[in-house]
């Protein structure tokens, strides 16, 4: 199954009842799958006038406590930022699949991971965070999409799945999770009509600085909880590694092959793959910095995650970078060459 379709199927199984979107390559297959499947399975699919409207419809559906999602790529994700910021401010759940393409501007439709900053560092206005998940296979894309709905609801926060067109377009077998039972219970914050209770308000506006600061403090406390509980990463060959390649998503796939080959050739190389980009596996990297000689951050961008790696490592060891831009996907051999170059530098 194709990655974008696997994410759509997983979303439906996670109880996503509403999908709102606007076509954009390379993720239209996700919307098309939803258009076929959701109406048959008791849900709503709507192709709307813009990505701005799509995210605001997700916001509206979330207001009632329903599970809803949208998906897009760079140019469309840029348009959604206003709505995402409002969702974060209003503490509303929602899932956004972001199939990253080459930019800036219209760029191209080739696989890229250059929207890390936008996804992880806010993108919209204000002090907020998305929870950002970065799958590296079709199976993982499905699993993370399934879990994204739980995370979004647990923390009442937007969850973004960030992947490149490689993951979205690739065909791999998928083992799906069981469909979720529709929850009967009403969410204690949802707007469902003030019957037998006081009216509820959903808002981000707080005119008094003291009040807005307190709201921000609460959001920050929530992000701290997320950082404490939800960090996920995968690692390989760290036991005796001197050089550790840090990569996520598609670049991690490429790096994994390169690292295996480097191992075959006798180089002491490991791989560290963040699965959650926010929360970033800061502590794990810091601990690792105590016992390795060097990190090589490998990205499909000019170097964005590398900043978070540097912050995590806090100067303990050298952090080097190699990346390709513009939708160019380097081969494992190219990555291997860079790894070997760094290994040799030290000897």
């Amino acid at each position: 199954m194709r990655g974008s379709e696997a994410m759509a199927e997983a979303a439906i199984r996670a109880g996503c009842r509403l999908y709102f979107g606007y076509p954009i390559t390379p993720q239209s297959e996700l919307a098309e799958y939803m258009a076929r499947e959701l109406p048959k399975r008791g849900g709503v699919f709507l192709q709307v006038e813009s990505e701005i409207s799509a995210i605001n419809m997700v916001l509206g559906a979330a207001v009632t406590g329903a599970r809803a999602m949208t998906s897009s790529s760079g140019p469309g994700i840029s348009l959604k930022q206003e709505g995402i910021s409002y969702m974060a401010g209003c503490e509303l759940p929602g899932v956004i699949v972001n199939v990253c393409r080459g930019g800036p501007g219209l760029g191209n439709i080739a696989p890229s991971e250059a929207d890390y900053f936008q996804a992880v560092k806010g993108g919209g206005h204000g002090d907020y965070h998305n929870i950002v998940l970065a799958p590296s296979s079709v199976q993982e894309a499905a699993e993370l999409c399934y879990e994204a709905f739980d995370l979004a609801e647990r923390y009442r926060n937007p969850v973004m799945i960030l992947c490149s067109a490689v993951i979205a377009q690739m065909m791999e077998p998928v083992e799906f999770m069981p469909p979720r039972e529709q929850e009967k219970e009403e969410k204690p914050w949802a707007l469902t009509g003030a019957k037998g209770r006081e009216p509820r308000i959903i808002k981000s506006l707080r005119l008094e600085p003291e009040e807005l600061e307190e709201h921000n403090r609460e959001l920050q406390r929530k992000y701290e909880t997320i950082k404490a509980r939800e960090v996920r990463f995968e690692s390989r060959h760290l036991e005796d590694a001197r050089l550790v390649v840090v990569a996520f998503g598609t670049s991690a796939r490429i790096a994994a092959s390169a690292v295996e080959e480097a191992r075959e050739q006798g180089y002491k190389v490991g791989l560290f793959r963040p699965i959650t980009l926010f929360p970033f596996p800061k502590k794990a990297l810091r601990d690792l910095a105590e016992r390795v000689n060097k990190f090589l951050v490998f990205e499909l961008s000019a170097g964005q995650m590398v900043e978070d790696v540097e912050l995590s490592v806090a100067g303990r060891v050298e952090v080097d970078f190699y990346g390709r831009m513009g939708g160019y996907v380097p081969s494992p051999e190219e990555c291997l060459e860079e790894i070997i170059k760094r290994c040799k530098e030290r000897t």
Binding site: V48, E49, N56, L59, G60, A61
Partner: protein, 249 residues
Amino acid sequence: MKLVFDRPKSMKDANMHYCPGCSHGVINRIVAEAIDVLDLRERTVCVAPVGCAVFLYDYMNFDVTEAPHGRPPAVATGIKRARPDLFVFTYQGDGDIAAIGLAEILSAANRGENFSVIYVNNTVYGMTGGQMAPTTLLGQRTTTTPYGRDAREGHPMRMAEWIASMEGPSYSVRVAVNNPANIVKTKKAVLEAFKMQLEGRGLSFVEILATCPISWGLTPVESLNRVEKELIPYYPLGVFKSVDTSKKG
């Protein structure tokens, strides 16, 4: 004019922040009364705008959500598509609906989304200090048209007629709240719009000509006169579309 009767069940006991002579207060009350009449309070979700009515949730005694500036029709679409059993309406100003939110309202209307729109046309951006709106009359001075609006800054937009030209909506009307007789008509129009939604007939749209004495630089009484003398001649009152043909005209 003064409205002295009991507070509708659908209103909270709160002081409104609107300026003296502002139509928002009257319109808030008309909406609350209509919701009481139709007994909808316990299944209402209102989408408040960014504009002077942003604090609607402090005055209304039912569930209210905020929406980004101009996006209430998209937010209302999400709510109504998720929960068709709820009664949903947006409350929007002319900047919100006719400028930044034009794509959202026209698309929702075209799809015939089954919610209602209360659109308050006061020909200016009240909240941000009286700048030009898409509805500002030609020649009208605002803080961003200090020499009067020129046609090259756009012609005043007639939303009710535009909405009426589409297949999706069930009802589109323009009313005013500048005198008791018009207030009674506005109440009727709001009730009619809400009934359309209850009957599942698609988007119902009520444009209400309103005052903004502060931005207009007029007294409350002069403002009411301006609605009569300047606004109504350009923005004619009436029903522009009703799927219930007996009510057209």
